[in-house]
Symmetry: C2
Subunit: 347 residues, 2 copies
DNA sequence: CCCATAAATGGCAGCGCTACCATTTTTCGG
DNA sequence: CCGAAAAATGGTAGCGCTGCCATTTATGGG
């Protein structure tokens, strides 16, 4: 009877017309709000007749549900927080792809934050995203501030830490052992007869995973009575240009190397380009080896020898695991997505 | 006085301990909820003494704000919907980068959806994201279903359509004229003396912007009394591999071409690789021209001749425009970010 | 045709916060 | 030392929806 009364009016002081709410739909359809709510959420027993009537009313008034209100009332949000260090490194968009693919049919929406490899930014983002009461948080890497770790631990949501399994996660870890990948790279190259190893790297302090691969590589060399002969490190993020420049530096300084291991494929492709530019033939003159198995490396005239990490799978499996077990388990879960050596033609 | 009473208890039927709320902080600090709220939002006059006391209480109880409740109460959400067609085409992560960069200091969080170039998926995503009452929606492209357009129009939020300015936007458009870029490509190449034009393309139906560049190219050729001699179209998304294969097909069929224009840089880099593989020297034997100005093309031993589109800028400017004018204006806004021909060394 | 059971539907409180008014306290010119 | 203005603080009613607990309406066996 008091449909039109807006109560002792506050809000809507501006001239804006009121948003269409469940109540409007209910009134038009001649049912209660809760019935409309049930129909839109497909819960509880509903007769076909009222369902049709309500759907017509929804259409007629142009109702758009308000998930904010729904989430507040039900305390379940359908949002998932995603934090990655960067978008410029192609690896992370690929992880995002996997996340989106697995999320697509689930009704969840990702809220994305980018840290730029800054742990304080990460902490701020974790706080900001938790404020949306997400059902889970996906976060690339293991390096967090103490506070970040504590906040994540205390929030009772699922936490997936991606890319890496070389440490104990807060809740779930999905990725591969970078140390082991580095070690196997060493073993593989030694097996193919290479002895004079060079290394081209980037961001020595920020990229911990590259560092761990380097550790593994050095361990493999050490176990075989060898050692890195020389290395060139670029002080900044990885890129084809940087790889090209550093490869030049390294080979100029130590021309006797028979293989150069790069911190990742971006850098290694730069190495290949360097060779092309100088008339060197990869493998015949100097062997080149990357990490990641990016498309661009495999599309080169001679495919790059490298290790395939499964970025897409990592994102996808993380989400699938979370969707399967929405509640935290007793102990941490570690999922090894593995890696595989791509023989290619440059080593 | 009834602090502990949870009312005629419902919720919290599970054993979960209650979440920490504003009320808890207020109780510990000995002030009212609204005062805590004001302090955390930096609004209204607050004495230093109480601010300190409240902040200490926040720290003590480990309070995490609930933006869901805040948004419902204030009807302003700090969320921004972002819809892009794909994450595998590097162009869109670059747009996302720009969006994130501009958003970083604003307190807004992007909620991201990926359509896979499917307009029905796009419509579903638009509905899903609008349900979070975002302050704005950013959406790549102009191709929407009728319903999508209507829903976007009716939602009173700001809408930015990115990449393209060849049509009238719902609200804001940020991008470049692809037709004009195609036309200028033609003029430029004609000016450099090329006459026998070939074209290598992809996704003839899905990628409308590539199509529009093609239109422009053909128009330029027509105005000069020329026409495309031959073209090869790949039925699928653009990739280096596809560009390589199609370039092979095209040059095998019509070896007399003196320049090949590619639908974008991914495809063009494939063309360059094809040449390397076959011992052809780009430009001397056949000229190659791309679109986008991707890093990878510029890192090649000989940089790719192409047109730079400013993806990062597009995302950044879109967000900045929205932040500057949170309310819709009277008429549509069109922002031309332009483009620039990169001479490179392949044409 | 009655009653037990299942199927549909509804009433109401409250999720955690903030807008809109107060109300109380401080400050300060005269 | 008073009254007016400014500075701090608080009470209360929702924001739009959903969980809990009825209540009402079919359905079907005896």
């Amino acid at each position: 009877m008091n449909d039109e009364a807006t109560g002792p009016g506050r809000r809507r002081t501006t001239e804006q017309r009121a948003a269409v709410t469940l109540a409007d739909v209910a009134r038009v359809a001649g049912v209660s709000e809760i019935t409309v709510s049930r129909i839109l959420r497909n819960t509880g027993p509903i007769s076909e007749r009222t369902r049709a009537r309500v759907m017509a009313a929804v259409e007629q008034v142009g109702y758009v549900p308000n998930r904010i209100a729904g989430t507040l009332a039900s305390a379940t949000s359908n949002l998932m927080g995603v934090i990655i260090p960067s978008l410029s490194n192609i690896v992370f968009p690929e992880v995002l792809q996997g996340i989106h693919a697995a999320l697509a049919t689930s009704g969840f929406q990702p809220v994305v934050g980018v840290t730029d490899y800054n742990l304080d930014v990460e902490e701020r983002l974790v706080r900001a995203l938790l404020a949306w009461k997400p059902s889970a948080m996906i976060i690339a890497g293991f390096d967090h501030t103490e506070t970040t770790r504590r906040i994540l631990q205390q929030s009772r949501t699922r936490i997936a830490e991606l890319m890496d399994i070389d440490a104990v996660p807060i809740d779930i870890a999905v990725g591969l052992s970078h140390r082991s990948a580095g070690y196997d790279t060493g073993r593989y190259l030694i097996g193919r007869g290479y002895r004079r190893f060079g290394y081209v790297g980037h961001d020595w302090n920020a990229d911990r995973r590259a560092r761990r691969r380097w550790d593994g590589l050095c361990a493999a060399l050490g176990d075989a009575g060898l050692a890195l002969v020389d290395q060139a490190l670029f002080d900044g993020p990885s890129s084809t240009q940087a790889g090209r420049a550093m490869c030049d530096t390294l080979l100029r300084r130590t021309p006797s190397l028979d293989v150069v291991v790069f911190s990742n494929d971006d850098m290694a492709v730069g190495g290949v380009f360097h060779c092309y530019g100088r008339g060197l033939v990869p493998k015949r003159d100097v062997a080149l080896f990357g990490f990641n198995g990016l498309d661009i490396g495999q599309a080169l005239p001679v495919p790059l020898s490298t290790v395939r990490s499964k970025r897409y799978q990592i994102g996808k499996i993380a989400v699938e695991t979370i969707l399967q077990h929405p509640e935290r388990q007793s102990g941490p879960i570690i999922i090894d997505t593995g890696y595989e050596i791509l023989e290619g033609g440059t080593a």
